[in-house]
Amino acid sequence: MLIEQTDPQGQRILRQRFAGAGTECRVGRDLACDIVVDDEFSAPQHALLTLLADGRVSVRDLGTRNGTRVDGNRVPVDAGAVIEQGEIIVGRTRLHVRTLRTPLRPERMFRRDFVRRHRTVLAATGVSACIAYGGFLRWLDAPPLLLRSITTAVLLILALIALWTGLWALISKLNQGSWKVRVHATIASIGVAFCAWGYWLTGLLAFAVQRSVFVETGVAVAGAVTLAVLYMHVREATRYEPRTSLALAGTATLVISAVAWITTVGDGDGDVNRVDLGPEVRLGVQRVVPNRDIADYLAEVDKLERAAGRERQKSLLDAPRAEAMAE
């Protein structure tokens, strides 16, 4: 019989093994007990656990006010309970009981984490990809002082990655005792590089097939990448369970998305002066879809007339002031 006690945060604070049929274990505040709990809701002599000959454990409440619970059910005072395993609650103290009869899962396969194994190469690749994108953007603008402009951009990107990585490394150090700099640098830089280059390539694809819907898809992908990056950072830097980590990362992603949405909401629908252009032009790129001819396109303008009519109806319904004034 193995008894483990955990504190309210789930941290194990006691682990004790009892062997031999008929072995008894008393639980309570009394120093004479085998397991002494520091719990004001517990009686001095609270419960008695006996290891039976068949390997099971009998649990008896010693007539306490608050009673004893096994897996959430109160143990009858006179009858007691017999269990193979389970959680016993004494006052507010939780004891996990395991016996020889508790079935065990086969051992987990040992698999080395890909990111951890290749952390040096990955971190270098990610940071390089970020730097390359920054440099590429500056080069596209063809500024008069190209070298200086690129250097500034690269230094800025390095500084940002260093700051972000440093932040997570510090959290790792505080929680787990190791810095994990390369792992965090990998997570951050690969995520950012993926979004950046993905954005550029999406533009290319959008023009090739003349669908601006890729822009929306791109936003969704960026959101997913943000979630993944935050989740991995949290998993690496803390001791939280996967579910808790996911909830934290999800909340952070939602907050970031909300802020991004609020700051761009001014450009949203209902702006009467916004003239929408489709995907950015890519010169001389082999196009995937064939071009239309003029007559075909002009037929589409008729549809546009109806669309404009709908916009008008909508705007009249949204803000009927001008019309109402007349009637």
Partner: protein, 462 residues
């Protein structure tokens, strides 16, 4: 050019001042000669006829004093005031004058536009110089020439005589009205003939015209009305515009009956829209025979899409030192005010040819995209609905282009549309065309026809 952008001509209706010339209208620069003084024609001394000089002097004595003009017109001129709902203080004001039998008053359409478009909300009143006041109603409107005829029950004024000839350039002229609500006033100046290069009939008056004088009479030396004060150019000196009086008789003929008071606002707006569309059919759509084009660097660019188009070619300041931009701008300098702040029947077209000077295709592409980015249009949400847009790759004559078309409707005038068409050539990595057609307040069918003509004429021969 920059300077010209500052210049806007505004309607001179008292409180509601409206921009009638587009801010980017290069015509404004021709309207406002700066720097050089107007050329004075000095007559040869020998050629001067002594009798003519005597007659001139007599003429000047007769007409020299503005007081004579004002006294003669005082009983004909009234202030037209608009009130919101039951309010006792005026919302807008302008001027008007009696013609014909003295029972009918001519003013500007833009002075009474609010009352026409919102008949349940605004009422009109006259205020005569002798202090009489009373309600007036609108009899007829002419949106194109910015004229309206109104009448008041029982009001009979001293009518003014009309003169249908356009005054000669340099003829002395006077304008009467109620500037800035300061009371009746007269200003003296010179008529400078019809404005050139414009199919809008406007006489250029060099004299002070101010807000509130809209609808007031413009008089010649004999006290006859040669026109109606209508707008001015702000930020410049004494450039005013006057609608020729020859448009008044036709309107008076239509003004025998008052506008049906049972007409709903919607019907009135339809009537205004119909007048605008008729104007467009005449002006915007007028074909100039074969569309005149101009060849620039292998591109054939439409210029004279319709008869009244004016164009200019400039070497534009480039957004990047390794990109050369040649721009051809065409426009019809016509603006009709249907309502304070809402001008329609505008046309402008700009072709820009970009040339890469040693830029990588990807770098050049970025500059093209930057230039193609549509500038935001102007318009108040109270008057226009949002744009609906569509975008496609289209094969034009000799080249492929991405065309974006955006359309929006006017909230009050269902038959009027704003068009915004952008064409970006995508074939060449060294040279690109960015062309934009902007139509303001046109009918859908006529807008589409202009668009067809425009797209059909674009051509590239490498």
């Amino acid at each position: 050019m920059k300077l010209a952008r500052l210049v806007v001509a505004v309607l001179i209706c008292g409180s509601a001042t409206a921009v009638v010339a587009p801010a980017e209208d290069p015509r404004a620069s021709t309207e406002v000669p700066t720097g050089s003084p107007p050329a004075q024609q000095v007559p040869d001394a020998d050629a001067v006829d002594a009798a003519a000089v005597d007659a001139d002097i007599a003429n000047q004595e007769l007409s020299g004093d503005a007081r004579v003009r004002l006294d003669a017109a005082r009983d004909a001129v009234v202030q037209i005031r608009g009130f919101f709902d039951k309010s006792a203080s005026s919302a807008f004001h302008g001027s008007g004058f009696a013609v014909d039998d003295g029972r009918r008053i001519v003013t500007n359409y833009h002075v009474v536009a609010q009352a026409v478009l919102y008949p349940r909300q605004y009422r009109l009143e006259f205020l005569a110089s002798d202090g009489r006041k009373g309600p007036v109603h609108v009899l007829a409107i002419d949106v194109r020439n910015d004229l309206a005829v109104v009448a008041a029950e029982t009001l009979e004024l001293q009518p003014l005589k009309l003169r249908s000839e356009i005054p000669a350039q340099g003829e002395r002229a006077w304008s009467i009205g109620f500037p800035l609500n300061l009371g009746l006033a007269i200003t003296e100046g010179v008529a400078n003939g019809l404005v050139e290069n414009s199919m809008e009939q406007r006489i250029h008056y060099t004299g002070a015209i101010n807000g509130g004088m809209s609808g007031g009479p413009a008089l010649d030396a004999r006290g006859r009305v040669y026109g109606v004060n209508v707008s001015l150019v702000t930020g410049r000196q004494l450039v005013g515009f006057v609608v020729p009086a020859k448009h008044i008789p036709a309107l008076l003929a239509r003004a025998s009956e008052p506008l049906d008071p049972t007409l709903s606002a919607q019907q009135l707006r339809k009537r205004v829209t119909a007048q605008v569309l008729a104007y467009e059919a005449e002006v915007l759509e007028a074909p100039s025979g074969a569309t005149r084009t101009q060849d620039v660097r292998g591109y054939t660019l439409p210029m004279q899409i319709s008869r009244h188009v004016e164009c200019s070619t400039v070497d534009e300041p480039s957004p990047h030192m390794r990109v050369r931009v040649e721009a051809v701008s065409c426009w019809i300098p016509a603006r009709i005010s249907v309502q304070a702040g809402v001008n329609v029947a505008g046309f402008s077209m700009q072709h820009r040819i970009l040339q890469s000077m040693g830029l990588h295709p990807l770098q050049f592409e970025r500059q093209v995209n930057r230039l193609a980015e549509a500038p935001r249009r102007s318009g108040a949400p109270a008057y226009v609905a949002p744009f609906a847009c569509s975008d496609a790759l289209v094969s034009l004559d000799g080249f492929d282009a991405r065309i974006s078309t955006c359309l929006r409707q006017y909230r009050l005038f269902a038959g009027l549309f704003d068009f915004d068409v952008t064409v970006v050539g995508v074939d060449d990595a060294k040279q690109a065309l960015v062309s934009r057609l902007v139509l303001q307040g046109v009918g859908f069918e006529s807008g589409k026809r202009i668009m067809e003509r425009y797209l059909g004429a674009l051509q590239w021969t490498p």
